[in-house]
């Protein structure tokens, strides 16, 4: 899979972030493995350490397996004012995980994010690419339930 994906990009170092995004988004477990990093390093003719350094630096990349859905809860000052921490508590109970952990069924990973630029709709969160605005406990349980039921179909 990875060879085919790499061939879409010209082999120059400035493509590194785009390639890493692509690899991560194409893996159901949402991460970049060390063997992937090796392949990327060979393809771009750079060292493995410089690829690893980039994966570690940027908070959206992970070098460990995560859930299929990454929940990114915004913790910017405005979202905090509007109740991010209540949402975080509710989510932790609902999914039975702590911040940063993945659920047992490998479906969700709970993370927080810096400002998502939606301060007029606070509090907000993202699940993978999709944005959820003005969330509250009621909306939250609906969102999680509908993702779970879609998954079981």
């Amino acid at each position: 899979m990875i060879k085919k994906l790499l061939n879409k990009y010209p082999p120059t170092k400035d493509q590194l972030l785009m390639i890493l995004h692509d690899i991560q988004n194409n893996r159901p477990d949402n991460y970049v493995s060390v063997s992937d990093m090796k392949e990327v390093a060979d393809y771009l003719n750079i060292t493995l350490s410089s690829v690893y350094g980039v994966v570690k630096y940027y908070s959206m990349f992970s070098e460990e397996p995560r859930g299929r859905y990454i929940i990114r809860l915004c913790k910017s000052p405005v979202c905090r004012m509007k109740g991010t921490f209540d949402i975080l508590n509710t989510l932790e109970k609902m999914l039975d995980v702590e911040m940063g952990e993945t659920t047992h069924d490998k479906l969700f990973t709970l993370e927080t994010s810096e400002c998502l630029g939606q301060c007029d709709n606070a509090p907000v969160m993202m699940i993978n690419e999709k944005l959820y605005k003005n969330i509250d406990a009621y909306k939250l349980s609906n969102i999680i339930r509908s993702i779970r039921s879609n998954q079981n179909q």
Binding site: K13, L44, V78, M81, C115, G117, C119
Partner: protein, 407 residues
């Protein structure tokens, strides 16, 4: 932003019939130097936060002598991460062609043939819309082909960030575009001399590019009719927090904070009392009622030891705790400090530790501690490489000035 909500942001024909790309056509008839002069005359200042004159940036890039004759680059900084700010997102979602037209005109004026739009990866809707707008422009021949009557053509590409606040700083953004960790570079050299891949690079904010078509079309004199002498033009203010109608408001520079909060955003939510507002985001300043009637401009606010920054306004009512807000902001800097230079790496952590100390000792002298923190932040600001190390002083000094006794 005259088109916001009026046209379909994804339709290039609607953009054209609303007058889009006529500024580009006009520019192509002019000499590139004339365009830079026009932008210089308009007094447009970079809308990313620092307020550097845009025309000067253009001139420096234009005049840069490239020793090995590499290409010039043009970059749009769409890595909007400043807490409380969402103006660039609004432009990209409502009128992406406007930003591209601004880039085209600027690229023509400095002779760049290749450009990048660096968008943070969290802005999935903006990415989709800009992608579509680029496709439209390629299809219609604005991008990728020589434009009529000239030897000029431009290629634009989207590049994504990956969750680093620091990459919104221009030199760090260049590192990230080159596929490296987001560490700031030493300046000088400035991007205008040695930017992307070591070549002269013009890098501007989304909102700055979006102003350029208007200036070209209507001329600098007409542009200067908006705003104030030193900060001409309009600005998008993003108001959030405890107001009735949070959102984005584009208005003239020189508007007062009172007008913005009371007339536009509908006043404080539930009729509560105004406490402080935070201007400019996390790397911003706390202000009290005494600033409510100051005209918003880069220099007028500076006199009050406040900043305009990116135009973010976070409003707090009197039930909010200033201490907690400051604590959150300092924790944010601790998290986002890249660790390259010591004053910032150690300093951001020490500031959070000092806040913890204040929290634990109930009877300690808070004012004295705040002064200590201010001194520390001043030291950081003087000795750090990039603006992140120079940021904590902004909220700290303004808290010291306006809210010493409430602290």
């Amino acid at each position: 932003m005259k088109n916001a909500g009026k046209i379909n942001p994804l339709s290039i024909s609607e953009y054209q019939s609303a007058g889009g790309f006529s500024a580009l056509k006009e520019s192509l008839k002019k000499e590139p130097k004339q365009i830079i002069q026009t932008i210089n005359d308009s007094g447009l200042r970079g809308r990313g936060g620092a307020g550097f004159p845009t025309g000067m940036k253009g001139r420096f890039t234009d005049e840069a002598v490239c020793h090995y004759c590499g290409p010039k680059y043009i970059i749009c900084n769409a890595d909007e991460g400043e807490p409380g700010t969402f103006k660039d997102r609004v432009i990209m979602e409502q009128d992406p062609h406007l930003m591209i037209e601004g880039m085209l005109i600027s690229a023509f004026s400095i002779g760049a043939q290749k450009g990048y739009i660096y968008i943070r990866a969290e802005y999935s809707e903006s990415i989709e819309k800009v992608k579509k707008a680029l496709e439209n422009c390629y299809k219609e021949g604005y991008l990728g082909k020589k434009l009529p009557g000239t030897d000029f053509s431009l290629d634009l590409e989207i590049r994504l960030g990956a969750g680093s606040y620091l990459c919104g700083e221009e030199l760090t953004l260049l590192e990230s575009l080159e596929g490296k960790r987001g560490y700031p570079r030493i300046k000088p050299p400035f991007p205008a001399q040695k930017g992307l891949f070591g070549c002269p690079t013009l890098i501007n904010n989304v909102e700055t590019f979006a102003h350029i078509p208007y200036i070209i079309e209507h001329g600098p004199e007409n542009y200067r009719k908006f705003g104030t002498e030193k900060s001409p033009g309009t600005k998008i203010f993003t108001i959030s927090g405890d107001v009735e109608k949070p959102g984005y408001y584009e208005t003239e520079m020189g508007v007062t904070l009172r007008e913005l909060i009371e007339d536009m955003a509908g006043g404080i939510e539930d009729g509560e009392d105004f406490q402080p507002a935070v201007l400019g985001g996390a790397a911003g300043t706390f202000v009290d009622e005494s600033v409510l009637d100051t005209p918003m401009g880069y220099d007028t606010l500076k006199e009050k030891e406040a900043i305009l920054g990116s135009g973010a306004i976070m409003v707090l009512d009197d039930s909010r705790c200033l201490f907690e807000m400051l604590y959150d902001i300092l924790k944010f800097f601790q998290h986002e400090s890249c660790g390259k230079c010591v004053p910032c790496r150690v300093g951001t952590t020490q500031l959070v530790m000092m806040m913890d100390q204040i929290k634990s000792q109930k009877n300690g002298n808070r004012e004295e501690m705040l002064e200590k923190m201010k001194n520390e932040a001043e030291y950081m600001a003087a000795n750090s490489l990039c603006p992140l190390g120079a940021s904590p002083i902004l909220p700290l000094a303004s808290t010291y000035k306006y809210f010493k006794e409430y602290f």
